[in-house]
Amino acid sequence: MSASPLVSAFRSSLSEAWANGAGLLLPLGFFAGTAILVPFTLGPEADLLSRVGPGILWLALALSSMVTLERVFQADLQDGALDLWLLDSGSISMVAAIKTLTHWLVSGFPLVLLTPLLGYGLGVPAAKMGPAMLGYAMGGLVFFLWGGVAAALSASVARAGLLIALLALPLYVPALIFGVQMVEAGFDSPSFLFLCATMLFALGVAPAAMGAALRLAAE
């Protein structure tokens, strides 16, 4: 297949994200909101906060990745665009992967950029900030890919938010475990390599799963 369907998929996902401007800010607000509220629930001890801070940001990242996923494929199914993608794009898996990656770029990557600010607020040591940001970028990609699979599986279900959470959360766990450890242990740790492996696995498997799920949804 040629690259033009993929470039067009990327461009249309970008303009879709741009058109849903407010929806785009939702994960960002969710992420920042969680990180800001947690200190109030845990109390003001700086030690405790700097210890749990990275973990809380992981949690916020995992949950906020799911906030907007519901509509990624559902809108395409309802307005008939999915039919056209299925028939004419050559590979629905690649198109779905591009859509999910664009989604990550637009509403996941800004969370990574926000990390230093929120991490500073939680008292995360500066030395951990580098591993944390890379970890969030990679982990976020894993979350969005598996979340995309869940969204594709539940595309034909009305109000699929809960179903997406049920399907995707167990798949988030490995990236979450290795990600949290990697922030503690830095780049020289096996956890970092395991996080890389988790990401590569998701990159390899999730697109095919999304493609199959979307074919099924269109039936």
Binding site: S2, S4, P5, V7, S8, A9, R11, S12, S15, E16, A19, A75, Q78, D79, G80, A81, D83, L84, L86, L87, D88, S89, A218, E219
Partner: protein
Amino acid sequence: MNDAVLLRGSDLGAIRGERVLYRGVCVSAAAGDLILLRGANGSGKTTLLRQLAGLSEPQSGTVERPAPHHWIGHTNGLKAYETPRSHLTHWARVWGSEASISEILSEIGLSRPADVPCRLLSAGQKRRTALARLKLEPRRVWLLDEPFNALDTDGQVQLTAMIESHRAAGGAVLAALHGTAPIDATREITL
């Protein structure tokens, strides 16, 4: 022009829940054919068309598609934020088509609302935008689901002319239709 079969479905069947929608349906379209799928609401016209298009797997039978086809579903495939121009530009890019978008828009009567977002367009204008995709790229088989829906008299005349010229150029059209057909068919299949 040859008489080769452009699309053939043999012995197609569909099951919806516990009910057999239809079985043993055979469809074959050659150059110049206009085949109308008729039937009451819920009789499976759309299902048959989707099976022919390859969007859903037939529960029985096989479909051969020797020629590329266009699909216009009953949903138009438009996004609320897209304009007719951006929609056509987008799919032209996906298909690698070099057709002139402005020309197509004026042919289909959408020059004026070409840059208006689809959420502000009328149902007929959205339908015209979807039908304009047929002009982006010549493909020999057109699969149309209720193509005349929402079109005004002028739009119906235009679509009829499009279908006629497509047939004259050696294409085939399969359309699901209820109500009276504003066009003479080669064959009707009643489900």
